[in-house]
């Protein structure tokens, strides 16, 4: 019963997890934001890629549920001595975790860990493939703000090609009834999105007055995203959420970003910190969503 992908999850299943998360939002608001729900449970965290918010968010979520965590990062571990992912997973697995949370730079790594260890795995991001808890926290954030995701017009803007967030979040938004448009130059779109529930365009300005939500993405230099357009300046001119562009958004339109932000590139600092920004709300919701997912996986009621 792993949570590896958002693919195939329908509105009812997503809503069930969001309802669960709503309850944990309330828990996190309490003077003592902690419940004993997963006391005695241990969560193995295998983070092979740099991460601030996802890793800390899972740790915070686990602790708020009174679970213990075992955290692993490649630097200072046996990976620097040449240990393979499989051996590391089996090693940590033999220390008795109930579940793994896996972040890895390669597509499918969490599937392999699940296969090798036989333990449930939550995918905390694999390559440019999937990041299901990000999709859920984005859904929670929109549902809180707008009341419903159904019918919202959403643009996801930037380096779609190298983004696991775009792959996961677009599917979740679409499953919840939003209409999603990818906005990017051809070189930053996936090669073939024929079967996806999205539209595509390279005309950000043509779309901007019709949007309820603008979801900005970072250019993933580490996956080659910087090599496929002529210059940052040219990119910002066409695809950056500049102040001028933000001023053309309808008054009610909100801005999301999964972080980390490159201020001044895809998003102007004034927009990132301005009244339209739901960025810090996303981060806060990340803890509640991960509590919901951990609870769902380990309390034995999960349906996936």
């Amino acid at each position: 019963m792993s949570l590896l992908t958002i693919e195939g999850m329908d509105a009812a299943e997503i809503s069930r997890l969001l309802d669960l998360a709503d309850g944990f939002v309330e828990v996190l608001d309490r003077p003592v934001p902690k419940v004993p729900a997963l006391q005695g449970r241990t969560i193995g965290m295998l983070f092979y890629e740099a991460s601030t918010r996802t890793r800390m968010s899972f740790e915070r979520a686990a602790k708020a549920l009174s679970a213990d965590t075992m955290s692993f990062t490649p630097s200072g571990s046996s990976v620097s001595k040449g240990e393979s992912l499989k051996d590391t997973a089996l090693t940590v697995g033999s220390m008795g975790p109930d579940l793994f949370v896996v972040r890895h730079g390669s597509t499918g790594a969490p599937w392999r860990v699940a296969e090798w260890t036989g333990l449930p795995v939550i995918n905390a991001g694999d390559g440019a493939h999937q990041h299901p808890t990000q999709a859920l926290l984005d859904c929670l954030t929109l549902r809180q703000h707008f009341g419903s995701i159904d019918g919202l017009r959403v643009a996801i803007v930037g380096d779609i090609r190298h983004s696991r967030v775009a792959r996961s979040t677009a599917q979740a938004f679409a499953a919840m009834g939003a209409s999603v448009t990818f906005v990017a130059p051809a070189t930053l779109l996936p090669f073939d999105v024929g079967g996806w529930p999205v539209e595509t365009t390279s005309d950000f300005d043509g779309l901007i007055a019709e949007l309820d939500v603008v979801y900005m993405l970072r250019i993933q230099q580490e996956r080659g995203g910087g090599d496929v357009f002529p210059s940052i300046g040219e990119y910002v001119n066409r695809f950056g959420l500049t102040r001028r562009r933000a001023d053309r958004l309808p008054a009610h339109t909100m801005v999301l970003h999964p972080g980390p932000m490159n201020r001044g590139v895809e998003i102007d600092p004034a927009v990132a910190d301005g009244p339209r920004s739901l960025v810090t709300k996303q981060v806060a919701n990340g803890v509640a969503v991960r509590m919901a997912v951990l609870f769902d996986q380990l309390s034995g009621t999960g349906s996936r």
């Binding site: 393979s84 992912l85 499989k86 890895h104 730079g105 390669s106 597509t107 499918g108 790594a109 599937w111 392999r112 090798w116 390559g127 440019a128 493939h129 999937q130 190298h162 983004s163 696991r164 792959r167 996936p190 090669f191 073939d192 999105v193 024929g194 079967g195 996806w196 080659g224």
Partner: protein, 419 residues
């Protein structure tokens, strides 16, 4: 004398007959009476034809003997019905001199269960800059020159190689893959690579190199062989070149005839090889190309890797799958070729590339014979090869090699030695 009893013989015509092999030659075809010292092998229900020839295998020796060596690869080949294999030169060090080629040849003779024909590199150290010791390789028996594993990117270097090798009558074989278009691609570029977020390796990377190379064939007249064709568009280019009378041949690997990029969705690196598994349309075009003869032969691209090397995330895994022991069955399962076409593509035409006297079995044919049961169902689980990186594990196949006769001796018999 070995008497292969009661099979359908691929000979002058396809009839039920016994085949007698003695002294390294086929000595009788018809109804053969067995004497007390003869070994009789029951071939009822099976096809009996010339020993299979694979012009593209990686035996990993010297340099990577933990994956395979010439002896283990030879036994694996015999178990797959092969009597001749061409060892690719991308060993460590590479086979770029006569001395290296003779080493590979001699190790094959020592193993003694299959004819191991060395191939040689086009470029020195397979580095793509200067020509290898071509004359020296030719003198050591090399007929196929290739930098397999990489394309010869430099068209000037390839032109010089073709001009030189054309004079000898040798074959330039190309692993066709434009490095710029291929980039860091891990799998076929298409809807599935897009969904999985993996960098795609477009079909165009193959086709564009073959298009270019055929211009050089026009210029030089050199025999040119396209290795492991994977893309529909490439087959069209080859078809046009053949129609124009150019000396162009091509091979296809069994996995490209059987699987598509959907196999990558398993996330298991057993689905990783270059060129990558492509689309349904490509598989369909490859099957048509093999059936109509545009693609001359099947070649396994047998590429062993140890379990620990493949037990990693897909993108980190080395590329390649083994294929010798499943090739005949896989081709029969995917393509269901009639007996004459089966032996033509698996033995006769690849044998002709090497200048072997491979052909329909007649009295006087070499004593290299394969017995293949086209109706036997089995599911591959274990292998004679040192490695087990096979995409067919757990997949039922129809057709199985029962016996292999190499040089008049039984080199493999199903049911013996724990098989």
């Amino acid at each position: 004398m070995i008497i292969l009893k009661g099979g359908t013989v691929f000979g002058a015509d396809q009839t039920l007959a016994d085949v007698a092999v003695d002294g390294g030659r086929v000595v009788e075809i018809g109804t053969v009476a067995a004497g007390p010292d003869d070994r009789v092998i029951d071939c009822s229900g099976a096809w009996v034809g010339p020993g299979l020839v694979d012009v593209h295998v990686h035996l990993r020796e010297p340099g990577q003997e933990w994956k395979e060596d010439i002896a283990s690869g030879s036994r694996s080949a015999a178990a797959g019905g092969f009597t001749t294999v061409v060892a690719m030169p991308n060993t460590e060090p590479a086979v770029d001199s006569g001395q290296m080629a003779r080493y590979v040849h001699d190790r094959g003779v020592e193993a003694g269960v299959v004819r191991v024909v060395p191939s040689g590199t086009i470029s020195l150290e397979r580095a793509g800059r200067k020509l290898s010791h071509i004359d020296d390789l030719w003198a050591a028996g090399v007929r196929i020159f290739t930098d397999d594993g990489d394309s010869v990117a430099d068209a000037g270097l390839l032109r010089r190689a073709m001009e030189y090798i054309a004079e000898l009558g040798g074959i330039v074989a190309q692993h066709a893959e434009d490095s710029g278009l291929a980039g860091r691609g891990h799998m076929h570029e298409g809807a599935i690579s897009s969904r999985l977020g993996m960098i795609g390796l477009p079909s165009m990377a193959e086709t564009i190199i073959v298009e270019r190379d055929i211009r050089l064939v026009e210029l030089t007249g050199c025999r040119y062989h396209v290795q492991h064709v994977s893309a529909r568009a490439t087959i069209e280019v080859i078809r046009r070149a053949k129609a124009a009378g150019l000396p162009v041949t091509a091979e296809v690997a069994p996995h490209h005839l059987a699987f598509t990029d959907r196999l990558v969705e398993s996330m298991n690196p057993v689905a990783k090889m270059y060129p990558p598994l492509r689309s349904d349309e490509d598989v369909a075009a490859l099957r048509v190309g093999l059936a109509d003869g545009t693609i001359d032969c099947v070649a396994t691209d047998h590429a062993p890797h140890s379990a620990h090397e493949k037990d990693v995330p897909f993108e980190e895994a080395p590329r390649g799958v083994i294929g010798l022991e499943t090739a005949a069955a896989a081709i029969n399962t995917s393509c269901a070729l009639p007996i004459a076409d089966f032996f033509d593509r698996m033995a006769v035409r690849p044998g002709q590339l090497l200048g072997l006297e491979t052909g329909p079995l007649v009295v006087g044919s070499p004593g290299d014979v394969t017995v293949f049961d086209p109706a036997a169902n089995w599911t591959p689980e274990t292998f004679v090869s040192k490695s087990a990186n096979s995409p067919w594990i757990g997949h039922e196949l129809t057709g199985r090699v029962r016996s292999t006769i190499y040089g008049g001796q039984v080199s493999f018999q199903l049911g013996e030695d724990g098989q």
